[in-house]
């Protein structure tokens, strides 16, 4: 599995990706999704394997990096680290920041490696199963992925569905891919090729975050001092090994579900850790199990999310949507054929994720103190620089100034979406799944001679439709239960 990685170039890419991912994860507001989107243009100078290795290492390390700021300044570097704040910061306040970060580092590494093992075994199985899929099955699967947006954790389920539908709507802009008829172009030639993924992602994540930061200038972080990261003690391991394993399983499973990701995984991992704990009253006051539960789960979601991305071309999270775009840009078509035709490429990715998990353990263990200092860079210097890179990066992909306007438009839109409780992640997932949903629907209707009911005669498609209904009903049932 690691053989394709035994080249100095790939190892340098891995090292750089892990370091860059950690920095992105540490900086609140940035993260692997924004970072991946920003670095995508630079990957054009790399071969496909190096490019995807770079993106996946950013993904793994960025997810972990969020824990450092969660523990030390009570602000999650990434949304996936939000649950880590609940116990990480209180433990750090008790003078045990090193212990808290040690547990976060170990559980993240275990969760990450566990999920890579799941990826290695399950992705080929899912790919084999995908050979049974025709257009109707892919349509039903994409619908399932979209309905899962209703339970992604951020925002209300209905708002998430609106955002998802909006993402699909964006994908319809431009020439219709089946008939070449212009849709929503309004005579603007540049729009006839459609709206690119990168301007939308950079706008929704980086530029909208810049606007958010402009409203938080008076915010003061209460930083906890860190002497050194400490490995967990025997007692800590005894207390947490079951939690780490359970959360690794939960995280991998949640990651595999289309459109879900580390944020949901960490919240469920945390709540399950509390449910199974012998000391649930310690949660929220600096419980070591709470940190382990959240961190193992969010890192386990990374490998899990790569399963549908590689096997089916359906992103498991916002960051894997960026990785999926990277694959497509580099001429790699994810899906079952990829497993048959390019096994070396895939094993390269699997190996890179495995090594990235080990690398961020080393960097996290020895360098957390340095990474934490990155948060000292003032926003008034950092964000104008990020803006410059965002603008140039967005322009570079198709050398079109219109893309820069689109990025700014989505930046402003993303800010207001977040302000009014609409998550921006469903827009990304909707945008990337849009063509698949419409294409497979229209091709299915050709196969079925326009008879919609024929979808119900396909067992796999029917199963996905039933799962979609469950996915839609689940948040409603959950909120009813919470109200009770």
């Amino acid at each position: 599995m690691l053989t394709p990685l035994f080249s100095s170039k790939l190892l340098i890419v891995l090292l750089f990706g892990t370091l860059f991912g950690l920095i992105l994860g540490v900086l609140p507001g940035l993260g692997p999704t924004t970072g991946g989107a920003l670095i995508l243009p630079f990957t054009m100078t790399l071969d496909p394997l190096s490019a995807i290795v770079l993106l996946t290492s950013i993904y793994c390390a960025g997810t972990y990096g969020g824990a450092i700021t969660a523990v030390l300044i009570n602000t999650p570097g990434t949304p996936a680290a939000a649950a880590t704040c609940l116990d990480g910061y209180p433990l750090a306040q008790k003078g045990e920041a090193g212990r808290a970060l040690g547990m976060a580092t170990v559980s993240s590494t275990v969760g990450g490696i566990f999920s890579v093992i799941i990826l290695v075994f399950f992705a080929p199985l899912l790919a084999k199963l995908a050979y049974e899929f025709g257009q109707p099955e892919y349509f039903a699967l994409a619908i399932f992925g979209l309905t899962m947006l209703s339970s992604i954790g951020e925002g209300s389920p209905i708002k998430n569905l609106i955002a998802g539908a909006f993402g699909i709507l964006i994908s319809t802009i431009g020439k219709d891919f089946m008939t070449s008829i212009d849709r929503f172009t309004y005579g603007i030639n540049e729009l006839s090729v459609g709206i690119g993924f990168i301007p939308v992602v950079v706008g929704l994540f980086a530029i909208s975050e810049m606007l958010t930061q402009s409203t938080l200038l008076d915010q003061v972080f209460k930083r906890v001092a860190l002497k050194a990261v400490k490995l967990p003690t025997k007692d800590d391991y005894k207390k947490t090994w079951k939690t780490i394993l359970r959360s690794s399983g939960i995280g991998s499973f949640i990651g595999v579900l289309p459109a879900e990701g580390g944020t949901v995984a960490s919240l469920i991992g945390y709540s399950e850790a509390k449910r199974f704990s012998k000391n649930p009253e310690e949660f929220g006051k600096g419980s070591i199990e709470g940190i382990a539960g959240a961190e193992a789960a969010n890192n386990a979601a990374t490998g899990g999310a790569m399963v549908p991305t590689l096997a089916l071309g359906i992103p498991g999270s916002a960051t894997t949507a960026v990785i999926l775009t990277g694959l497509i840009i580099h001429g790699v078509r994810p899906g079952p054929d990829l497993f048959r035709e390019q096994p070396d490429f895939l094993y390269g990715i699997f190996g890179a994720m495995l090594i990235a998990n080990v690398l961020f353990f080393i960097f996290g263990f020895f360098g957390a103190k340095i990474f934490a200092r990155i948060t000292l860079v003032p926003n008034k210097i950092l964000w104008p620089m990020i803006f410059a890179v965002s603008v140039c990066g967005t322009y570079s992909l198709s050398q079109s100034i219109i893309d820069v306007w689109i990025m700014l438009f989505f930046g402003v839109l993303g800010f207001f979406m977040r302000r009014f409780g609409f998550s921006v992640v469903p827009v990304i997932i909707g945008l990337i799944l849009g063509e698949l949903v419409e294409g497979t629907l229209r091709q299915s209707l050709v196969i079925f001679d326009g008879n919609w009911l024929m979808f119900l005669t396909r067992p796999i498609a029917l199963t996905f439709f039933i799962l979609s209904l469950i996915a839609l009903a689940f948040p409603l049932l959950r909120s009813k239960k919470q109200n009770k």
Partner: protein, 168 residues
């Protein structure tokens, strides 16, 4: 988050059209209706070439879905008002203004000049007063970014009064 008012807003006394929930829902529905109307002007594929459904059908269905879901969230918000962040500060509007300045300058004068102007404008308005750091974000860093993209990615930036000095 500290900046978010966790308690539900006490604006129940306001008339419904002054409430954020109504305004947001109205804007979404209004734009969706305009887009929906525009789908009726899409070309129609002759039946012999038509595969499955007309190109306008899918966007129409999406827009109707968005309108329906927006109506639902509005109705739900009457009982449970949304949690909205604090009033937007001046720095937000100045940052927004800087985007507008960026668009105007990059369109009329120069792409990199626009980046420099935005950087110094944002950095200054966000509280930076040290000359070195203002120069760093507005001149040194954009030049480094330019050189990086130009040499490593072989990118050609749009012509402008400053960019032309490099190219010609």
């Amino acid at each position: 988050m500290n900046n978010v008012r966790n308690k539900k807003r006490a604006n129940k006394s306001l008339s419904f059209f002054f409430k954020d929930e109504f305004q947001v829902s109205f804007i979404i529905i209004f734009i969706s209706i305009i887009l929906l109307i525009s789908t009726f002007s899409f070309d129609i594929v002759p039946p012999i070439l038509n595969r499955g459904i007309q190109p306008a059908t899918f966007p129409k269905a999406l827009l109707i879905l968005i309108i329906s879901l927006t109506l639902i969230i509005y109705c739900l918000s009457i009982k449970n008002p949304w949690k909205i962040g604090k009033k937007l500060p001046k720095t937000f509007f100045l940052t927004l203004l800087s985007f507008l300045i960026f668009v105007i300058i990059s369109k009329t004068l120069d792409f990199f000049l626009a980046i420099s102007v935005l950087s110094i404008f944002v950095s200054y308005n966000w509280g930076e007063r040290r000359i070195f750091y203002l120069l760093l974000v507005s001149i040194i860093f954009p030049i480094l970014v330019f050189i990086f993209f130009e040499t490593i990615l072989g990118l050609r930036f749009p012509p402008g009064i400053i960019t032309n000095l490099y190219y010609y």
